[in-house]
Amino acid sequence: MVKVVFSENHWIQSNHHMEFKEIKDKLFDAWAEYKKTAHKRSFWLPDLSLFGVIRMATIAGATLLFFSYICRPAFINGGSMKPTYSTTGLNFCWKPAFWFKEPRRGQVVVAKYAGERIMLLKRIVALAGDTVEFKNGILLVNGVEQEEPYVKYREAWNLPERRVEKGNVYLVGDNRGMPINAHKFGQISTQRIIGVPLW
């Protein structure tokens, strides 16, 4: 008994009584049938036909566009947003968040810091025209003390009052448990804000 298997649904079985030609024909028929349906199984490794190449190029292009212009991957490296975000981890910057909306106070945003690759993950605490001040670690916006439930670590930061310029927003991290000079914060152009973290 001989059993030739191409796949789960394509196989032939022969015995010693079959003629060689008969076996050969059966083999060819089965192979032809297998080839007809092979494309269904070769999604991840398509044939190098024109259609296959176009399909691969389309998928690659769409993936590149999606992860470049819509949902950009970003590695978090730094503890300035602790405990809201851990010191390291993978996240995605969701860019459509500001396609039709303006940044809001209290929102965690991703902003371009150096070139296209180095970004900041911070919280908007004040908008253009607002005044910002720190008194003994308490944030005051327009002279009003802010309740910030997301701030768990706090040092006695002191920063004289300043006004956020037109076209800017004021960014501060949630981790205020470090010396004020070691924390990157301040006003930044809204044009540098590119999206929000996906989670």
């Binding site: 810091y113 150096a114 070139g115 690759r117 180095i118 900041l120 920063l159 960014l171 990157k184 914060f185």
Partner: protein
């Protein structure tokens, strides 16, 4: 005889092509080379020999114009410097480090006039101080260069202030 002539012609053609490639660098390529040379001079590998340090301090002034303005946030290093003083300051700074590496990327070059160039780029500085602290800092930089005798020289280098406290 014909074979020798063919081989000779081929050699001449290769030599001309090489000369064209080497000598006719575009201004962009020359600027990139200048910046690359600058990063090489600033970078320091662990256990760098004194002779290498001296060599770098000798060639570093060659990348700067007669007077170069440095703007580094509120740092006391900001100011106008001669190429020699930049070199001596850099030697002093490098001596604090066990190893240091400077890289430029995301480089964008524009030419406001044929002999002037403005380069914006990201500078990534990593290093270990001799007392053990690690440094890993990326900042956006703007460099202005002037063409002098076919060589691009930096006359203004500033660290862009992105976040203003």
């Amino acid at each position: 005889m014909v074979k020798k002539l063919l081989a000779g012609s081929l050699l001449v053609a290769v030599a001309i092509a090489a000369w064209l490639i080497i000598m006719n660098d575009s201004d962009e390529k020359r600027i990139i080379k200048t910046l690359s040379g600058l990063t090489d001079c600033v970078s320091k590998h662990s256990g760098e020999k004194t002779s290498v340090m001296l060599f770098k301090s000798q060639i570093l002034p060659g990348y700067f114009d007669d007077m170069c303005i440095l703007k580094i946030d509120d740092s006391h290093l900001s100011g106008a410097y001669t190429p020699e003083s930049i070199s001596s300051n850099m030697t002093r700074i490098r001596s604090f480090f066990k190893e240091i590496s400077l890289n430029f990327y995301d480089t964008k070059i524009s030419f406001p006039s044929p002999d002037k160039a403005v380069v914006t780029m990201t500078g990534h500085l990593t290093g270990t101080l001799k007392r053990g602290n690690r440094i890993n800092e990326s900042r956006e930089l703007k460099a202005e260069l002037r063409k002098s005798n076919g060589k691009w020289l930096v006359y203004n280098l500033e660290v862009q202030e992105i976040l203003k406290k």
